[in-house]
């Protein structure tokens, strides 16, 4: 009798991988974008199973609420809606399938053959430890990330603006 956690893991990972396959094999870029929603939500579910509630919520807020909206906007801005031809063409098919399969087999066999030392991991909220860590030992990376975000914000606006004569 498998316990509930195992069933949840199997279900969520099957959902994640199925929608990731949808992203990789879909013939229309908009369908890929909507499949990416399933992958990102499934990843958030895996984060919850790994007792990282804060990362799961951040994943939903930033990825699903931000990046995915940006991607859908970019798709709609750069494709003529109603265009029936394939918008997400596949090239290098013959080289990519064996290489990706080889990488998958190599990674799975190598990683799962290792014997990892696992400490017991209780389920506890990670919000307080993350907050403490961000403002203590990770304070410098935290500030650098905010500068990087500012640079990305200004840079992306500079790239898409109209030329001012």
């Amino acid at each position: 009798m498998p316990d509930l956690k195992d069933i949840a893991f199997l279900g969520i990972s099957a959902f994640t991988l199925a929608s990731a396959a949808g992203v990789a094999f879909s013939r229309k870029v908009l369908y890929s974008a909507f499949s990416l929603l399933g992958t990102l939500a499934g990843a958030a579910g895996l984060f919850i199973l790994l007792s990282s509630d804060f990362i799961a919520v951040t994943q939903i807020l930033i990825y699903v609420g931000g990046i995915l909206i940006l991607i859908v906007f970019a798709v709609m801005l750069t494709n003529k809606i109603g265009d029936v031809k394939l918008t997400n063409q596949v090239v290098n098919y013959k080289a990519a399938v064996p290489l990706a399969a080889a990488v998958a087999i190599f990674l799975v066999s190598t990683l799962t053959s290792g014997v990892w030392v696992e400490k017991d991991a209780p389920y506890a909220s990670m919000v307080v430890p993350i907050g403490n860590a961000l403002l203590k030992e990770y304070l410098l990376p935290f500030e650098i990330v905010s500068i990087v975000l500012l640079g990305a914000l200004v840079g992306s606006m500079v790239i898409v603006r109209r030329e001012v004569k």
Binding site: L17, L40, L49, V91, A104, T112, A133, L134, V160
Partner: protein, 101 residues
């Protein structure tokens, strides 16, 4: 019984799907989605290692930075894609070859 190995297997397959996507797509937005798959696989791996290391906080913080940097990367990349479309009328990565690469 779900162990660290189960998570590693799932993320390895997720990584391979992202790799396949990056290798085969012509559409620049499609390429970007493959990169997002790869970043998600890495991020789940960080959190899985830290969870099975007694809920260590380091992997969580690293995963948080990874998500934030992925947001910055997506913003800049999509800005480039939009201005590429204005310039060339296409976003196929092999047609924007003014630099003759």
């Amino acid at each position: 019984m779900i162990t660290l190995n189960s998570y590693l297997a799932v993320t390895a397959i997720l990584f391979a799907l992202g790799l396949y996507n990056v290798m085969t797509r012509k559409n620049a937005v499609g390429l970007l989605m493959g990169v997002e798959l790869i970043l998600n696989a890495a991020s789940i791996n960080f959190v899985a290692f830290s969870h099975f290391n007694g809920n260590h906080v380091g992997g969580n913080v690293f995963s948080l930075f990874l998500i934030v940097l992925a947001a910055a990367e997506a913003a800049v990349a999509l800005a480039i894609v939009v201005s590429l479309y204005k310039q060339y009328g296409t976003i196929n990565a092999d047609e924007a070859d003014s630099l003759k690469g």
